[in-house]
Symmetry: C2
């Protein structure tokens, strides 16, 4: 297996699961935004030149959520996802999809406005709107996490998806001061050896 | 089962799959943005007061992608998703997640800027950036669809997720004139009786 990876990107999610599962993989690293990501060679792997992408036995796929579900379905032997008939299963799916459905849209805007664009091209109203929306999305996670260690009764790939989004939101300066359950959740995730490896490949 | 639904929302995806599967369901309709979506009663179903949400035998979940995967896992008998070991499976997952990962972020911005905000609060640069990004995301779908009827060798829930996003992009005025494969794909999807019902409940 070969993972196309950048630090500070959704590729960390894939590396995290690969490490949790103890799978062997090669890695091709990019600096986020570097020109090589637009080379025809890489555009044949990912048509938008983004990370992550995964190659495995002649197939290539992208989208972090798709890659995690692919790895779980083909290699996990039932770990990191609850059984279909369990009580946890619907919650697991909801929080798995919550990352891209709810948290990442305002995060994307904040990254563009506060990191990628030069100051003179920033739009204050976008920062304000996205900050408010992100806060609402994180509040819902915080409320769900009251009295819990993970999003469902055990650590799953939903914690990789939404947990990673929550960690990135914290890194980006989201206000966690009124969210009593998120700092300890972030710490619990960051203490996992698999994430420590995946974070800084 | 009970579906919380609005026209012109991602709830159409859930109704579409329910109709394809021939499942019975109750429906509670909202006009998009109506005040009742913020009532405490509905916020107990969906903490952000959005649609879709699904209730089924004492469980409640939201996120259209999660609901589709829930329905497929518990009720589909293997229809509408390829087998895990098939060649189609990774492509299926990729295009399932592509809807929210790639198409909907610029769509969300375009809906806010061109429909929800009054003209004096619109930001031209957002419209321009999102239009460009959406065009890139649709181009990748168009290129994949060359010579194909559906995203994988048969109609699946990936066509519901990304197909619905493509249809909505067309409704919002995205430029399809340089995308030879998308108009016929949209027509093929819109001719499915299940979508006809789901579109206008």
């Amino acid at each position: 297996m070969k993972l196309y990876y950048s630090r500070n990107s959704r590729a960390v999610r894939v590396a995290w699961l690969l490490e949790e599962m103890g799978l062997e993989y090669e890695i091709q690293k990019f600096e986020l935004g570097e020109r090589a990501m637009r080379d025809p060679e890489y555009l044949a792997v990912h048509p938008m030149g983004r990370v992550p992408a995964l190659e495995d036995r002649g197939i290539t796929l992208f989208e972090s959520g798709a890659i995690l579900q692919y790895l779980l379905a083909r290699y996990s032997n039932g770990h990191f996802a609850p059984p279909i008939n369990s009580r946890d299963f619907p919650d697991y799916l909801q929080w798995f999809h919550y990352a891209e459905g709810m948290i990442m849209p305002p995060m994307n805007t904040l990254v563009v406005e506060t990191i990628l664009l030069p100051p003179e091209r920033r739009t204050e109203i976008n920062v304000k709107r996205s900050t408010k929306l992100l806060n609402q999305m994180l509040t819902a996670v915080d409320q769900h996490m009251a009295g819990r260690e993970y999003l469902t009764s055990q650590f799953t790939a939903a914690d990789i998806m939404t947990g990673h989004a929550v960690i990135m939101a914290g890194e980006l300066g989201a206000d966690l001061s009124d969210k009593p359950n998120l700092p300890s959740y972030i710490e619990r995730l960051r203490n996992r050896p698999a994430l420590k490896v995946a974070w800084s490949l």
